[in-house]
Symmetry: C2
Subunit: 340 residues, 2 copies
Amino acid sequence: MLRAMPNNTPKPPVISDVARRAGVSVPTVSRVLNGAAYVSEEKRSKVMKAIEELDFRPSAAARALVARQPKLIAVIAGNTSRYGYAETIRGIEESARGAGYTVSITVVESAEDEIVARAVSLVLDQPLAGVVVLKFDPPGVAALHRIPKSIPTVSISGVREVGVPQAVLAEADAAAEVVDYLLGLGHETVQHVRVPPSRKEDGRTTGWRRALVAHGARVPVPVDAGWEPESGREIGRALAADPAVTAVFCGNDEIAMGVIRGLTEAGKSVPGDVSVVGFDDHPLARMWTPPLTTVDQDFAGLGSRAYGLLETLIAGGKPKKFSSERPTVIIRESTAPPPA
Amino acid sequence: MLRAMPNNTPKPPVISDVARRAGVSVPTVSRVLNGAAYVSEEKRSKVMKAIEELDFRPSAAARALVARQPKLIAVIAGNTSRYGYAETIRGIEESARGAGYTVSITVVESAEDEIVARAVSLVLDQPLAGVVVLKFDPPGVAALHRIPKSIPTVSISGVREVGVPQAVLAEADAAAEVVDYLLGLGHETVQHVRVPPSRKEDGRTTGWRRALVAHGARVPVPVDAGWEPESGREIGRALAADPAVTAVFCGNDEIAMGVIRGLTEAGKSVPGDVSVVGFDDHPLARMWTPPLTTVDQDFAGLGSRAYGLLETLIAGGKPKKFSSERPTVIIRESTAPPPA
DNA sequence: TTGAAAGCGCTAACAA
DNA sequence: TTGTTAGCGCTTTCAA
């Protein structure tokens, strides 16, 4: 553990050091620092010089203490490095940075009470302007429940839910469109391989089911995959054994790639024997063999919209309850009519 | 832009509110907060109760001001969402969180002076315990130069460099090993497709060149790729036209996948006609067709080691100059002897 | 245009 | 065991 020991670096200069060196009062230094108020050219330059010489930086802690709104936005997520998460965070950070905010990220490793409490508490220990919670998974959902109402908060999700303002990517509609497309190609039904859901059922699964039912098609039991492509591979191998499956809709591209690999290893051809669709439009989806039919999700835009909602909230405004957008289906070469 | 408007959320409770409600003095509240000193069971429970009721959280800003070390670590990077970056950040965050730190991320979009200055300034405006700079690219390198020496700082890189303490993944050695392996298979030389380097030459290129020279093999002119797999594809197509290239060593897996795709599209077989090696062991590398021979880089471990260095620095200790580790070559199926 | 004084929310030192 | 008194480094009145 870290001990509170004296730091070996020299104590950094403070504002009074600058004032003394420049021969002015502390508030005057503060004035030139903030570009505000009137300061004579003479003093201003003296102060600037002193700042340079001392390599002075105002203490962020002191500034934060004094009235000023904190300039930190916390992002809470169950994961930071998987494609969708990373891109969403990128979108948040980019927008936030543009407005002068820094973003912190903290991951909640599981939905277990103690883990969630510890992570949230860590987050709240910083001086925060607001928080964005990625509700892509159970840890995210659990974390949201623990954020005090007094802190401006928005969430990000794949489905509309009541609660704090929310940026959403309307997955269900896109999923339904995928199924429509596949059924239109002549497939009798569409198998679904889903990623770990954030709740009982995620938007992709809901949309898939809805479309199947709307078409009067048989609704197969969804197969659960993990987050790793490897789990898709195993499922692909298993699916290959069932001649009834001619079309598979996967919860994300990585899983789809794994499924394709498993199918191929088991001797099936994609899309000749079975069509496979992913979700997300991962950068490698178009490089895949065959290039993957998938759904483009603008994660960065999603993050950016979440920031927008939060900004309104922080400013004391009343943002829309939802900022919703519809992902786009991208048809490439992993889908075709079923074998005759 | 965000205006400094009054917030609509109620002003959060402060320590004096708790003290008043509990009928004790402010320092007493502080004492129970910090678990220190003697406080009677009676008052302690009164205070706890007041804290609960008010949902009070001590102001991090005030705490930071008063001697206590801030609990925020800033990560500065040229990117946050690409595989290696995201994983490295994950490693940092995980270790930092374990020790009670939150991590902020801010990206530096280019090495342009103004951009770098703005980003760094944003970072320094937070009360920081220390900073980790990802020197994987020019923006990262530029940012490092702007961090004041008074702030505990470590960097992360693929090659050893003088300066602040550094966590390194010894790319050059691994790259050399790849070339040794390929040459051992019988290839006359190895073409190199590199990702945008952080400096004149990155470790992967250095190791590749070194091994080639050591074997007395011809050293081809490296081909520059971008970060997108798509750029690899174009290069692959171009490379297919040159019968002299039978082995290609790529700067990362995404590029390698693009190269393989380009090669394949141009009618070459991998590894029959040309062998391709990637770098990073991306999660999809083993799913690829053919499964990719690559180099496993433990990015999360790298991030974790960087945190370790920083922790020592923050505690006032003197960390090693380098925490170096050697990536491992992973041979899969995208490499074979050259065609007869 | 400038400085003196007050105070942000908290912890540390000192008495009691 | 507890309260009183001082600040931490800065910004913000308020006078001058």
